[in-house]
Subunit: 294 residues, 2 copies
C-alpha cells in the first residue's frame, strides 16, 4: 500500500511542480525576477504543505486538483518565507537543501523582491482560481493571510529571532513553532478540507489534527538536526545549535523529545479518526513527518 501512496503523492507533486513553474513563466515580469522566483520554487523539498492540502481533499473523495491553485499559493508563500529567513540579516544561511540560497545566487535585493513577489502572487492565484466560488476564495485568503502574517508565521519568525541566545521554556518554544511552522501546515490541511466541503465541526477536528502535526514536524526536525547526517539533510548538522537556539532535544533530552514526538503524532491521529472521513493519506503523511530522514 505505501508504494501506491508514494506513487500517488509523486503524481501530485509533479503536477504541482509543473503548475508552479507555469504560473511564474506566464507572468509579464522582468526575467531576472522570474528566474529568482523559479530558482527557489525549483529547489524541491518535500512539498509537505501542498500534499497535506491534496490529502485533505482526497479524504472527502473529491479530486485533489480542485485545490491546485491554492496549493501553489501555499508553496509560494512557504518559499518566500525560506528566502527571507535565509537572508544575511536573518539566519544568514549560504545553503538550503544542498544548493546556494537565493541571495547567494541573485544578491540580496533580488532575493528580497523575489520573496515579496511570491507572497503577493500567492494571493492573486487564489483570487483568480476559476474552480472556486467567491465565498471560498475569501475564506481561504482570510485564513492564509492570518496564518502567514503578523499573528501567524511572521510573528513566529520575530519570536524566533528574539529567542536567540536565550534559554526558552517548552511553552515559549511551542509558541515559536506553532506560529513559524505550524500555521502554514495547518492552512494546508484546513484549505483542503474547506475546498472539499467540510463543515464547521470537521474543520475544528482538522485544525486540532494540524496543530499536533505541526509540533510533531518541528520536534522531528530538531531531533534530525541532532542525529542527522549532513549529506542527507543538505545543511550543516547542528547549525541551529551553533547559534544557541533552543530545541526540543536541548530542553527535554533526546529521549524526552522522542516521547513528545510520539505523543503529538498519536494526538494528531486521534483527531483525524473523529472526522469519519477517509484519512488514509493524511495518516501516511503524518507517519512520514514523524519518521523522516530529511
Amino acid at each position: 500500500m505505501s508504494v501506491n501512496l508514494e506513487e500517488y503523492f509523486n503524481h501530485y507533486k509533479q503536477k504541482l511542480d509543473e503548475n508552479l513553474i507555469h504560473a511564474i513563466e506566464e507572468l509579464p515580469a522582468p526575467k531576472s525576477l522570474k528566474d529568482a522566483m523559479k530558482y527557489s520554487l525549483k529547489a524541491g523539498g518535500k512539498r509537505i504543505r501542498p500534499l497535506l492540502l491534496f490529502a485533505s481533499i482526497h479524504a472527502y473523495g473529491k479530486d485533489p486538483e480542485m485545490g491546485m491553485a491554492t496549493a501553489c499559493a501555499l508553496e509560494m508563500i512557504h518559499t518566500y518565507s525560506l528566502i527571507h529567513d535565509d537572508l544575511p540579516s536573518m539566519d544568514d544561511d549560504d545553503l538550503r537543501r544542498g544548493r546556494p540560497t537565493n541571495h547567494k545566487v541573485y544578491g540580496e535585493a533580488l532575493a528580497i523582491l523575489a520573496g515579496d513577489g511570491l507572497l503577493t502572487y500567492g494571493f492573486e492565484l487564489i483570487a483568480n482560481d476559476e474552480n472556486l466560488n467567491d465565498a471560498d476564495k475569501v475564506w481561504l485568503i482570510q485564513l492564509l493571510a492570518k496564518n502567514a502574517g503578523p499573528v501567524g508565521m511572521v510573528g513566529g519568525q520575530v519570536a524566533d529571532i528574539e529567542a536567540e541566545n536565550k534559554e526558552l521554556t517548552i511553552k515559549e518554544l511551542e509558541y515559536i513553532h506553532h506560529h513559524k511552522t505550524g500555521k502554514l501546515l495547518s492552512f494546508g490541511v484546513l484549505a483542503g478540507a474547506k475546498i472539499a466541503g467540510a463543515n464547521a465541526n470537521e474543520l475544528k477536528l482538522f485544525e486540532e489534527f494540524s496543530q499536533h502535526l505541526g509540533l510533531a514536524f518541528q520536534i522531528s526536525d530538531d531531533i534530525l538536526d541532532v542525529i542527522g547526517d549532513e549529506k542527507v539533510i543538505g545543511k550543516p548538522v547542528g547549525s541551529d545549535d551553533g547559534k544557541a537556539k533552543s530545541t526540543y532535544p536541548a530542553l527535554l533530552t533526546l529521549d524526552g523529545a522522542n516521547e513528545q514526538l510520539s505523543y503529538h503524532t498519536e494526538q494528531a491521529k486521534a483527531a483525524l479518526n473523529l472526522t469519519n472521513q477517509n484519512t488514509d493519506l493524511l495518516y501516511y503523511l503524518t507517519d512520514l513527518i514523524a519518521d523522516r530522514n530529511n
Copy 2:
C-alpha cells in the same frame, strides 16, 4: 472651495490614521513587530493613495468610509514597499520623511519582517471587511495583488534596480514609474470606483486617468528632486542623482519635464471629464500632485 476640500481630506486622513493604528494594535502579535509596523505607518506622508480611493467613492456620491479597510490595506502595502526599498541592499536610505528609516531603528531583520507583515495583513483586511460583498473583495484582492506583485510594483522595483548606472530611454523610464509608482496609485482610484459601483466602461476611464496621474506624480517628484529644498522634502536633495539614476529632467531637461507634467495632468483630467461623475475631489488631488512641494 479649496479650504473646504483641504478640511475634507484632513478629516479622512485622520480617520485613516486612526484605523491604521487600531488595526495594528488589535493584533495578538509580538510587540516589537507591531512597534516596527506602526513606526512606518505613523511616518505620515501625503496618504495620496487612500485619498484617491476616498475621492473616487465620493465621485459617485457614496460614503468614502465604505472603502476604509481597503484604504488601510493600500497604505500598508505602500508602506511595506517603502520599508523594503530603504534597506541597505536596496536604496540604502537612512532617512525617510526626515526620520530614520525602519531598519535604522529596528534593525534589518525586523524591518524586513515588518514589511512582510504589512503586505500580508493588507490582504487580510480586505478579506475581513464586513462592508464589502465577496465578489467585490475578490475583485479588489485580484487587482491589488496584480498591481503590487511581480507584474506591478515589485516588477517595477526590479527594473529600477537594474536601471542604475544605465542611460534609459523615456519609454524605459516610463515602464519603471508606471509599475513602481503608478500601479498602486491606479489601484486606489479603481478600488474606490469599484466599491462605489462603477461599471466596466467607467472603470476603463478611471484607469486611463490614473495612468496619466501616476506619470504626473513621478515627473513632479523628479522635478522636485532637482529644484526642491532639502528641509521641505525630508531627504537629501539630488539623492537619486547621486546614484546616477535616470530622471525626467535629466533626460528631457527641466523645461521638457515640466511640459510632460502639464501634458499628463491635462490628459488625466480629460479622462475624468468623460466619466460624468462628480470629480471635484479627484481634480483637486490631481492639481495637488502636479504642483506640490513635498
